[in-house]
């Protein structure tokens, strides 16, 4: 077992506002190996974006990472670093790309300038050399006519091209880990495929790890080798991608998969998980999914399940792991009955 | 006797403030206007502003009862330009008149002129904006070009021109002139609101169902327009007060011997170095009034616009 590239242990990120404490990320632990592609899936509000921002310590007031959390990059605890040292890691050893490339790029600077900024901020490279590398990177990410394009402004490029630019910006210094927060959500389906292909290509070239955050199971199936399912600020299931799709354990994962419309299937209605995601100010007691779960029983309401080992490399936060016979007696989830969520 | 009247005035002020405070803290769960009022009351500065305004208006309205001396009567020439004392709380001016009483009466005039003028401005601006926004096309372009032109002229310059050409101005003429030069921003606001509402589905639907334009305006446009107009009006009163003071200071506003905060300052200007109190106190009153209206307007703007941003 090689040493993990990134090791997250009991990460908790809370937001303290006048409305109370929002426990957006509440005890998340996982590892990422070198040259591995890991996916994080979940609905909006489950904490996946906050997790990714926490990894780079980009969480601002009123949120903060709670003491007791640990994030280790190749052995160094990122949370104990001072601001300047952390800054040197961003864009350099760990890079991040975001969902909406139009707003994620500064509208008043050229694309080339924004690319060139990355090496200039981390080393003493000259302006000319930085610009040359920027143009090079544009070519690498597949933008035609890179010399001219480098002088364009973001609003002059299409959505797909902007996302390529973002990827290029992230890869300028060959980071060991790339965090991609919903990189394809804002793009057309055909462009989505191109971007995912580009990411795969880049991974092959540089042997970098990718943490791919998305709500789209299709993307996960195609581009990752291991999947983490998040719900209500916690990890509820983790498995290799094949295992997860073949044998989902947690009822939430099952629900997500059932909700995916598949081509060729004949169904009259889309399956929906009843109820809505609870509020991070007020997570439900016991298992956080129990109000929306078709198998829940008394134990689920009172006892918060730990991550049970299901198989090799497969864990699930569900009491069904120790009482599998309960699967035979599904019922209407409480949220469906009252019509309201927790 | 005077002390009793002051005590009564003070009690009235406290009672009004308390009543408003009660109204601003409704039971949980109320929505709409009362909820907005509650949001407003959450800002301590806005609350203070309203309290200050209540105080100013009550005190100045009751000026005849509360003044220590006759504001117009010239007492004795020998009493001119005396520093503040127990008898003359704000001192006397060059003509031997009690500045404190003059400020009280002057505030009365300035505050009521400002309120009336702003009302005129609100009505004219709203009508102009609704017409321009609703009719659209060439009429809209012409109407807004006229507004642009007025906005390009510094307000005081325009007021001076009108004031000089029509001198001397009676108080009602002054109110009208001030009002007719203060409606431009309001018309722009209203027009913008009308334009955004015109295309909304509910209006298109109402039209399709045969509702007349007037009815559409009443039911859809006016309620939405009220909020920004109210905020603009509150902020507008502050600038009208200052403009009236400026005109009175120049001699084309409220004329001597009727006191207005502006012309009291005018009286004090030639003696600025020796009798500085004459210019100081009316000015402070002006600042407090304008500040209160500005704070109140800001608070209103924040209360009506329920954005969660923690600024």
């Amino acid at each position: 077992m090689t040493a993990p590239l990134l090791s997250v242990h009991d990460l908790r990120t809370y937001f303290r506002t006048s409305a109370g404490v929002a426990r957006a990320v509440d005890g998340v632990s996982f590892d990422i190996a070198p040259n591995e592609s890991v996916g994080v899936v979940g609905e909006s509000g489950c904490g996946k974006s906050v997790t990714s921002l926490s990894l780079l310590r980009l969480i601002q007031r009123p949120g903060s990472i709670e003491p007791g959390s640990r994030i280790e990059l190749e052995g160094t605890d990122l949370l104990s670093l001072d601001d300047e040292s952390m800054r040197k890691i961003r864009g350099n050893r760990i890079a991040m790309i975001f969902q909406e490339p139009m707003t994620a790029l500064n509208p008043v600077f050229t694309v080339g300038a924004q690319l060139a900024e990355v090496p200039r901020v981390h080393s003493d490279i000259s302006r000319r050399d930085a610009w040359a590398r920027a143009v090079e990177m544009l070519a690498v990410v597949g933008i035609p006519d890179p010399v001219e394009r480098a002088k364009s402004y973001p609003h002059q490029l299409s959505g797909g091209m902007r996302q390529r630019v973002m990827i290029g910006m992230a890869l300028m210094l060959s980071p060991a880990l790339l965090i991609a927060d919903e990189p394809t959500t804002a793009l057309d389906v055909t462009i989505q495929a191109q971007i995912l292909e580009l990411l795969a290509e880049m991974r092959a070239k540089t042997a970098m790890s990718v943490l791919l955050i998305t709500h789209d199971l299709g993307v996960v199936a195609e581009s990752t080798s291991r999947v983490i399912v998040m719900y209500a600020g916690e990890i509820v299931e983790q498995a290799g991608v094949r295992d997860l799709f073949a044998q989902p354990h947690h009822p939430y994962t099952e629900g997500l998969m059932a909700a995916m419309p598949r081509a060729g299937e004949k169904r009259e209605r889309l399956t929906v998980i009843p109820g809505t995601v609870p509020s991070p100010y007020d997570w439900p007691s016991g298992c956080r999914f129990h109000e929306r779960c078709p198998f829940a029983w008394e134990r689920c309401e009172s006892e918060h399940p730990p991550l049970y080992q299901i198989g090799s490399g497969h864990v699930s936060r569900c009491h069904l792991a120790v009482e599998p016979e309960r699967r035979a007696t599904p019922h209407e989830p409480r949220a469906a009955r009252t019509g309201v969520s927790a | 006797m005077l002390v009793l009247r002051w005590a009564a005035a003070g009690t009235l002020i406290v009672a009004l403030c308390a009543a408003l405070w009660r109204a601003a803290h409704p039971p949980r769960g109320t929505t709409g206007a009362r909820a907005a009022l509650a949001r407003y009351a959450a800002h301590p500065s806005a609350v203070l502003a309203v309290a200050a305004l209540i105080t100013l208006y009550v005190l100045s309205a009751l000026a005849p009862l509360l003044a220590t001396h006759d504001p117009i009567a010239i007492l004795e020439r020998s009493m001119s330009n005396h520093a503040p004392s127990r008898a003359f709380l704000f001192g006397t001016d060059y003509a031997g008149r009690d500045v404190f009483s003059r400020v009280l009466y002057g505030a009365r005039i300035s505050l009521s002129v400002a309120l009336l003028a702003t009302s005129i401005a609100v009505v004219v601006g709203t009508l102009w904006g609704i017409t321009a926004g609703f009719c659209g096309g060439k009429l809209d372009a012409l109407m807004m070009r006229i507004v642009d032109a007025f906005l390009a002229i510094p307000r005081i310059v325009l007021l001076i021109a009108v004031g000089t050409l029509w001198a001397p101005l009676s108080i009602s003429a002054l109110i009208i002139v001030l009002g007719l030069t203060a409606w431009f921003e309001t018309s722009r606001l209203v027009r913008a609101e009308v334009l955004s509402i015109k295309d909304r589905e509910m209006v298109v639907a109402a039209r399709a169902l045969g509702a007349s334009d007037v009815a559409i305006v009443k039911r859809h446009v006016l309620p939405n327009v009220l909020t920004p107009v109210f905020v603009a009006a509150t902020l507008g009163v502050a600038s009208v007060i200052i403009n009236e003071a400026a005109l009175s200071f120049l001699g084309i506003g409220v004329a001597d011997p009727t006191p207005s905060l502006g012309n009291i300052i005018r009286d004090g200007t030639p003696y600025l170095a020796s009798a500085w109190w004459v210019a100081l106190f009316p000015g402070i009153t002006l600042v407090i009034t304008a500040l209160a209206y500005n704070l109140a307007g800001d608070g209103l703007r924040d209360a009506m616009d329920p954005r969660q941003v923690d600024r």
């Binding site: 040197k88 994620a104 509208p107 901020v121 | 390009a152 002229i153 310059v157 120049l250 000015g283 500040l291």
Partner: protein, 322 residues
Amino acid sequence: MWRLLAGRVLQGLAVVWVVVTLTFALLHSAPGDPFSSQNGRRIDPAIRAHQRHVYCLDRPLAAQYVCYVRSVASGDLGYSISKQRPVRDILIDYVPRTLELMFFGLCASFLIGITLGVLQARHRGTFVDWGSRGASLLLYSMPDFWLALMMALVFAYWIPLFPISGIEDVVAAPTFEWWQLAGDHLRHLVLPVATLALTTTAAIARFQRAAVLDVIGLDFVVTARAKGVPEGTIVRHHVLRNALLPVITLAGVTLPSLLGGAVLVELIFSWPGMGYLTAMAVESRDYAIVTSSVLITSVLVVVGTIAADMLYALADPRVRAQ
């Protein structure tokens, strides 16, 4: 770009034309005959004849209007009763001094206002923020003439730092070297410029603070942080470049208010500019000067607004590209 400029200039001309019409309407609807003598002062019959000719006073109203527009367009703004000179000549003397005040006032208020606004945004919530915001609001609520009086009282009478009035030391000037003249001139500039700038600075700071706060919450700032850009560079380079844009549009609103403030400030400090001229014209009921003031100030505002719009277009690549 040129098309944008042409468009703006045309709009500006339309605005000026409306203002000209307005002054015509004012002159002709006011009681009394604006072109005859006031206060018992007699006009030289030759001047009177000139006026009749230039303003077509013996023709019907429509023709008078055309005459008026033509005269204004050619620069003939009438004859000043109080100064016994053509208005145009008077303005040539007085307007540049107001422009000087405007220039320094604008520079000072924008420079200080922008810096203050950025500081307030960066230190949001701290004493620096709400302390200076409170002070700004206070200044913004002051009548400029009263502020001028208080400034004069404190800094010229009580603490005799600056001269109370005028544009130069009339007594000593003839003996001054050029650098002494310059220094003296600057000393006389301080109080009027400071008074004018104080209220405008407050307004600009308020606006700039909001603009910076808006921008600082935008996505590309997060991207910049994720790239490892230092926080200081982010504010100075990424944020400011975007947050300064809306402030340029403020010029359209600050110009009229500065010009208006100039009237009273110039009067109180006896700074012989156009504002001083206007204020003096009130006493003597000099119609020609008062209406010319309206015309000139609006032209200045229009020119300034066009310049600001062009500057904005240059600065924002999204606009420039059109």
